[in-house]
Symmetry: C2
């Protein structure tokens, strides 16, 4: 069976997350239902998909990558068009390419970029409430940017990982960590690029860095937390709706865009 | 009782429209419930509000104006802050000013601007699906812009008014009508500025003009429809989610922003 990789984007608002689960409608369930419909499979059969990394309820994606084996020969772009016709408009297939059978959306990924958007207006923008964290406090951008330098490089991120994780190895490498201020939009945008991220890692990093910006924690707090390796000492987990899986990198990246 | 005018914005997605009605939650109902809570009125009493013009289910506002008489002396900006704390984040009070008792949000208005956003990408952008009309067809912008010239000025807009209206007088004046193309965003934005608009008038004008852009109707069609005065000959009513009440003008405009 030919294997395909798809780059997709979605508004996660109405889903209980990416991964199939019994207590609600997920992005994976919507995609697999559409694939079955497209392939006209007999009842009970299905086309399993794998993603580069699951996203939680309310988290969005601009460049999630999935792969699946399709049960018949088909042109990649025909999958894109058929899926975009079948899916709810909250999910869009941006690009589909045929890949080698050893391509795996998760295991072949070498790096990922997440962004986190913060609305800094006094009262939340009605049109951004599902797409940003509302954080209306005066902030010190220099302190936050300086603090983030500490997490760049290879570190044990135990302090920035949900205790609900099943991962033993907490060492990850962050290549880039920065905050872009958009004054015209009253927005802060965090960007993290790294070789992998632990459960809730970005959201805990954002929640803690914002406390540094607010003056509730010192500028060297991220360095201290890397050393203490204790989730309880870090700041709160920022809410899901500000988070976007922006980009996934592969060694021989199969996507053009 | 002091009278206040408020400039508000809202995401209309989850409401059945602006005006209070029995079959669903409305923006007016949300605002009046918050006003009652703020004023700590006895059960059964309420604070009636009037708006510059009601908006339909799914229609948004960036600069709707309302007025109401508040049952106690209070600073205008305290109303803004209290209401923004009490209201769902889908509604935001942008500015509140105290006005003369002869100010009326609807009767004192001398002009209004509406915008209508169109997503022209091949498949709908998941993050714009609640905020634009998706219209993925190749269009002739010059033909549309030329066609819109015909509606500028004072005309009988019977062809562009829902037959469900209760208004007898169908004569209105449009001061400006234009389309702004944003290629980077794959968006068209219609702008209409006029002294008043009939029920569904913008949405029928947009639906008809898009048919001209698609080549389904001739460039002189809007002129012909003004002459025939027959709703049945005009194009479809464009859907609500692309429409925004952008601005309301008053003779001595009480708002600073």
């Amino acid at each position: 069976m030919p294997r395909f990789a798809a780059k997709i984007e979605y508004d996660g608002t109405q889903y209980v997350g990416y991964q199939v689960q019994p207590n609600g409608w997920t992005i994976q369930a919507a995609i697999e239902a559409a694939l079955v419909k497209m392939a006209k499979l007999p009842k009970g059969e299905h086309i399993p998909t794998s993603c580069s990394g699951r996203t939680d309820s309310g988290v969005h994606a601009l460049g999630q990558v999935i792969h699946f084996d399709y049960p018949a020969p088909i042109k990649a772009d025909n999958i894109r068009r058929a899926m975009n016709s079948l899916l709810d408009p909250s999910i869009r297939f941006l690009e589909v390419v045929e890949v080698d059978e050893d391509f795996h959306a998760r295991y072949s990924a070498i790096a990922k970029e997440y962004i986190y958007r913060v609305d800094t207006q006094q009262y939340p923008d009605p049109f951004k409430r599902l797409y940003t964290l509302h954080h209306p406090y005066r902030y010190n951008l220099d302190n936050m940017s300086l603090a983030l330098q500490a997490v760049i490089g290879e570190h044990d991120f135990t302090s920035f990982c949900s205790t609900k994780t099943d991962k033993e190895d907490k060492v990850r490498t962050i290549y880039q960590a920065e905050i872009i201020e958009n004054k015209a939009e009253s927005e802060l945008q965090f960007r993290f690029y790294g070789n992998g991220f632990l459960y809730n890692m970005i959201r805990i990093l954002v929640g803690t860095t914002l406390q540094i910006g607010d003056g509730l924690k010192k500028a060297n707090e991220l360095q201290r937390l890397l050393d203490t390796k204790n989730r309880k000492e870090a700041g709160p987990t920022a809410p899901p709706q500000g988070l976007y899986l922006h980009y996934v990198e592969y060694l021989n990246n199969p996507f053009r865009i």
